[in-house]
């Protein structure tokens, strides 16, 4: 997936590091060092994600975000990148229409993951099928395929996989997964383990590489072969 990103960041060093890293991960990046140039680039081109710094020399990142959201005919995801991390600042960002918020100092890898997640969410509205590596999930037909093979999953296993697909590339904790699948009526702690076991038997075991990864027993996430 070739993702087009607009980066609006006034700090040259950070911008250079981000551009290099994103380009290394096959992103197409356009860069603006102030709000006015950023808005011009946004008007001229189409992007999958906009990475926006909150403090810009000419226009406040919050105002620019509002302007982009008000002008755009399609909902372009905005990842707010800022050195301010108070709840008030985060609230202002989300009020202005930001889709995600990342506080400096950040991991470059996390920027990539969040951009992928936002771009995927952006594209989710366009299609009922989601593909992660060789795994394809059809939400309307309730069908899952891996490497072209149709996989027969129970309703609960399908729902667990769907939660992981929606969270991709981020991980989902055990508690969050339990809350999303069973709500408050969770029978006992071994049930999730049992479902993950059956899910792995169907989704991972017949194939050379596993797509479901356990994070230190605390959560799960999907990984593509090239992620590993």
């Amino acid at each position: 997936m070739n993702i087009r990103v607009l980066l609006v960041e006034d700090n040259y060093a950070i911008a250079e590091q981000l551009c290099d890293y994103l380009a290394e991960h096959h992103f197409h990046v356009d860069y603006a060092n102030d709000g006015r140039r950023g808005f011009t680039l946004f008007e001229k081109n189409s992007y999958d994600v906009i990475i926006l710094d909150l403090m810009l020399p000419d226009i406040n990142g919050i105002e620019l975000c509002k302007k982009i959201k008000d002008t755009s005919t399609v909902a372009i995801p905005v990842l707010m990148l800022t050195a301010r991390d108070s709840i008030t600042d985060k609230g202002l960002g989300f009020d202005a229409g930001a889709d995600d918020y990342l506080t400096k100092p950040f991991e470059l890898e996390e920027v990539v993951m969040r951009c992928l997640a936002l771009a995927k969410r952006h594209q989710l509205h366009k299609s009922t099928c989601i593909s992660i590596g060789d795994l394809t999930i059809d939400m309307h037909q309730h069908q899952v395929q891996r490497a072209g093979r149709l996989l027969n999953l129970s309703i609960t296993d399908f729902n667990i996989l769907l939660v992981l697909v929606h969270a991709y590339p981020n991980a989902v904790s055990r508690t969050e997964l339990i809350a999303k699948i069973w709500g408050d009526e969770f029978p006992d702690s071994d049930v999730l383990r049992s479902h993950i076991y059956t899910l792995r038997n169907i989704v991972d075991k017949p194939f050379a590489q596993a797509i479901i990864k356990t994070i230190h027993g605390m959560g799960f996430k999907l990984v593509k072969h090239d992620d590993v």
Binding site: N11, A13, I14, Q17, L18, D20, Y21, M55, A83, R84, D85, S86, I87, T88, D89, T103, K104, P105, F106, E107, L108, E109, E110, A171, V172, S173, R174, T175, E176, S189, I215, H216, G217, M218, G219, K221
Partner: protein
Amino acid sequence: MMTFKHSIYRRIIATFLIFTVFLCVLFSFFLLAYSWVVEDNIFNRFVDNETIFISKHYEKTSQIIQPRMRFMQLYNSWQELPADIALQHIQSPNQIEFDLPTGGSLHIKVFMLGPSQYILAADVSGFEISKEYFPVISIWILAVIVGISAIALCISLLVAKNAVGPLKRLTEEVSASKNTNELANFSNDFPNNEIGYLAQTFESTFEHLQQILQRESDFTRDVSHELRTPTTILKNLMHSTSHKELIYLNKKESRQFCYAVLEMEQTITTLLALARQESLTVERLSLLATIEDCVINHYELNNNDGFLLQVHIDSQYKLEANKNLLKILINNLLSNAVRYSLEGSLTIKAFEHVLTFENSSSPVLLSDPFKTHCKGENSEGIGQGLNLVKRVCTVFGWQVELESTESKFKIKIILNAEQS
């Protein structure tokens, strides 16, 4: 509408009413007692006058005559009187008024006629008006008490309203305001008296507090920006390929550089969080869910697949804490374990009110490991990690202890019993 267990408004009304009822009852008793005393004295005077009349007549004629009034009778001795009167006299020789079995009373005067003692007894049962009127008078007295109490209630309501009203309004305005901004110029609505002065004092205190909060907010925001931006550059440099090409850093120096950057990031995040007012807001949190959240989002841990993490915490274990600070605390301890654990393992346990983080480590020999810039021999950080852990624990009122043996490093956090 605010309600208080000990409302001044209700206290004023209650005090007024209790005092009024007490006064009414007291005066009613005085009134009744006075009427009884007057009545008894009139009877006694009648008896005295009659004894004087009988005595004078005896002195003139040496004859003993019967009293002029029909309700009086002259007796020769106590034995001639009814038996229970004689008995009452033996029990109380100075008594001059005796209760009759019929409900009335007998007033007595002992006097001498020549050498003999005589007793003049007046049965005043038919003349005791106070006893006869008592039921009617009682109703009237009760009616007067109720009437006066009602008037007192009205006056007390008025007094309480005038005295407590402004104070009540001040209390309600202060408690209803969600933030100090809403209290700007609110003292103008209060009269120029003690309450008005109190309102002005509140207003100026709130303004001062608002200024302090604004300064704190501006300061942490500016510091956040000025420190986080260069830290971001250093952190990204640490992960970028160009850093690996820095030939003038050997492996140890390179590791020291990385740890210093990561610890600087931790320090900035923790100190700024501790400085903020928002960090004082606590909520009931699931400890396991918070740890899971920290683990799956912990960069260093997730890039270390070989690290063995064991968590023994009941999913129902809850504690009261600020979510952001608790996550900072857990992240600091996770980072510490990932960096310094010898075997690459960490065990997290929560039992009763103690949360422990235990990992394999070489012994840490420090007199005060939680002191700032205090670090072990093998530490390549800047010696802030444990100090930050302690500072976060202090905010929640938790105690933190370190146990270090030849091979184990254990951080014990003793939670408040009522919080967990």
